[in-house]
């Protein structure tokens, strides 16, 4: 996103007043092994799901806090987007989902020896969440546990 000062007044106000949480502290975990040995998973807020799975709900108060599992061996032809927001241009994602869900790029990084492996699963949440409490208290920790169970070293969070 361009810096706020480069936006129109309406867009700038909308983002400035978006209910963003503020934290004083940051958890810090050093990378436990070399990048070339690490297992990487994608965490998306692009509202993605596998064809046949349930789409996200548009009118959930505060935003749909659920998540979808996207097995990394899913064919890209079977990945869909049910993102509620009309505040971003969907055309780029129609053209190439790697613009916000870089599954092909991660595979290439494995082939190039840059990362060790891609995790068995990626995870997607909905974006534009105005009330993130359910994610912080419930679904976020669930996904964190799944990532730990799957031996993931690096969670790469990619919004849209």
């Amino acid at each position: 996103m361009p810096r706020l000062e480069a936006l129109s007044e309406v867009e700038r106000k909308s983002l400035s007043f978006f209910p963003c949480m503020e934290f004083d502290q940051t958890p810090w975990v050093p990378l436990s092994k070399d990048l070339s040995q690490s297992k990487v998973a994608l965490i998306s807020t692009a509202g993605l799901h596998v064809r046949g799975d349930k789409p996200f709900i548009s009118d959930f108060k505060g935003g749909d806090p659920s998540f979808r599992v996207i097995p990394s061996n899913t064919s890209p032809a079977d990945i869909l987007q049910s993102h509620v927001s009309i505040g971003f241009d969907h055309t780029g994602f129609y053209k190439d989902m790697n613009i916000a869900f870089p599954i092909d790029r991660l595979q290439e990084l494995v082939e190039r020896g840059v990362i060790g492996s891609v995790s068995e699963n990626h995870y997607s949440f909905m974006g534009a969440i105005r009330d993130p409490r359910r994610i912080i208290e419930d679904t976020g920790p669930q996904v964190a546990q799944l990532l730990k169970d799957e031996g993931v070293n690096i969670a790469f969070l990619v919004p849209i």
Partner: protein, 216 residues
């Protein structure tokens, strides 16, 4: 490790490692169909893993090539009531859409409603009935999905179908050109606007919110 799209928000949230990417929403890694550019952004994000302590918030040194384009920001003055029947128009787009799918290894954003695209004439009838009467239903709607929500999935399918068909037809069209064509020239967009208008005529705040999501 994350990509941050609003720097001011990342400064408040203070995630351990964030790369601020200056691209428009929807274009997180810079440019579609440009794998090496996307790799540059990803490499910059992975590089943050080498910092000894955090929080780390660094800027990606990238150019914002195009101005921010949002379908919702496109002003369309041309009325799309060109006399075309939406269902016939949709059928005429089918060959282009199928070419898009064939050319992209089956990748398509069409499918939220679960209705096969070859049966979208039924989807169009569903929308027409709603636009006319303010009430409608369709047998493919799952019981646990409310009508307005299912209508949103149907409309998102139609938009993706048309956009992908148009991109198959004009591979060099800019995003703004595609938005302007869709909202300004197609009968299906006029139908979507009619559905939204009908929703907006009610006193139901949720329906108005759905209308807002449909007609942009």
């Amino acid at each position: 490790m994350s990509v941050a799209l609003v720097r001011e928000h990342a400064e408040k949230v203070k995630p351990p490692r964030a790369l601020f990417a200056p691209f428009p929403f929807g274009h997180t890694l810079g440019r579609p169909n440009d794998p090496e550019y996307q790799h540059k952004v990803i490499a910059a994000a992975f590089d943050l893993l080498n910092r000894p302590s955090g929080p780390v918030l660094e800027d990606f040194d990238g150019e914002v090539g195009e101005k921010l384009v949002q379908a919702s920001a496109i002003e369309v003055s041309v009325a799309s009531s060109n006399g075309t029947n939406p269902a016939d128009e949709l059928t005429s787009m089918r060959e282009l859409y199928e070419r898009w799918v064939a050319d992209h290894d089956g990748r398509t954003m069409v499918g939220l409603s679960g209705i096969p695209q070859r049966r979208y004439r039924g989807t169009v009838r569903f929308l027409e009935e709603y636009a006319e009467n303010g009430a409608a239903d369709i047998k493919e709607r799952p019981e646990d999905v409310a009508v307005p929500q299912f209508m949103r999935y149907c409309v998102d399918d139609l938009k993706a179908f048309y956009y992908e068909a148009r991109m198959a037809q004009r591979s060099n069209a800019t995003e703004e050109e595609i938005h302007t064509w869709f909202w300004g020239e197609t009968a299906i967009a006029q139908l979507i606007k009619d559905v939204a208008k009908r929703m907006n005529e009610t006193d139901d705040a949720d329906l108005k919110s759905f209308a807002n999501g449909l007609a942009r």
